[in-house]
Amino acid sequence: MNTLIIGGGKIVYFLAKAFFSKGYNVTIINRKKEECSWLARQLKATVVFGNATDPQVLKEAQASSMDAVLAITPNDEDNLIICQLAKLNFGVQRTLALVNDPDNEQVFQELGVTTAFSTTRMISSLIEQRTGLEEIVSLFSVGEGKVNVTEVALTKNSPVLGQSLMEINLPANCLIACILRDGDPVIPRGGTTLCAGDRLVLITLPENHGPVLKMLTGSNI
């Protein structure tokens, strides 16, 4: 896979290294001359010096041969233009942009960027997930944070002990996918009864993530 990364700093360096270890080809565009020579010395990447919002510079970096373009400069506007140029002028199928303003995630996707991700939003959701109770472990999220997969332990204070799934009446858009009971996985059905010590693997959408956890643990999240 041919990848083109635009940006600077440690993030580009480590990202390029991670891509190499996956066997990808990496080209980097950076607008600081000293940083370009440093990157070229440290990595076996092709490094192009210049402003990537200039179509000539993208051409020099052989943008048309890229499978993916990743724009991670600190400026939202530059990342947008880079992705749009890559798509429109060079036919790149997959473009990814970093955005500062979380609102721009949606805006960029409306304007043709394949994926836009906001570090602000990712960090704030990580913090939200980690500051919950200890018996709640956020496993991962799917679809750029649109679906959360969480592991919840039921303590003896849980209000749902001894009730079946049918009885506890979980809200819509939420699923108890699996119960780990004494280390054994159980795929629950409506009649399955919940016990203290059960660890539930829970799939939720963000809007009812909090209410469902409250329902199962009895605590405010």
Partner: protein, 143 residues
């Protein structure tokens, strides 16, 4: 010149071009809002010509564009010194808020075809000046 009806115009950037446009358009009776990241830039708006509003903020931030009531705008002009800011704000205006007329100032003639492709009208002073100079040059040399 026939006077167009009163329009709601957002000018992004209050440098030489932005302030000139804002002063002139406001003086001609349009409702003008100027956005700039730096509030000192608004000093270029003259009290005898400009009677519009000033919004301090970054025009690539959706909240700032909303504060300028972009959903009500008839025209959005991108006049900052950073053409990428101009192009981004213009696209948001056009695609998200259905502003009927957007145009931007760009400096790099290489981006003219790109602007056309994304449907943003652009004015490039670099190529205008170059073409004028070349035309004058040929005229002077009589060829």
């Amino acid at each position: 010149m026939t006077q167009a009806k009163n329009m709601y115009i957002i000018v992004i950037g209050c440098g030489r071009l932005g302030s000139f446009l804002a002063n002139r358009l406001s003086n001609e009776g349009h409702s003008v809002v100027v956005i700039d990241v730096n509030s000192n830039a608004f000093d270029a708006l003259t009290a005898d010509q400009f009677s519009g509003f000033r919004v301090e903020g970054d025009a690539t931030e959706l909240a700032v564009l909303r504060q300028a009531k972009i959903d009500k705008a008839d025209v959005v002009i991108g006049a900052t010194h950073d053409e990428n800011v101009n192009i981004m704000a213009a696209q948001i205006a056009k695609n998200r808020f259905n502003v009927s007329k957007v145009f931007v100032r760009i400096l790099d003639p290489n981006k003219e075809s790109f602007c056309k492709a994304i449907g943003v009208e652009c004015v490039c002073p670099t190529s205008i000046a170059a073409e004028k100079m070349i035309a004058d040059l040929y005229q002077a040399s009589g060829s």
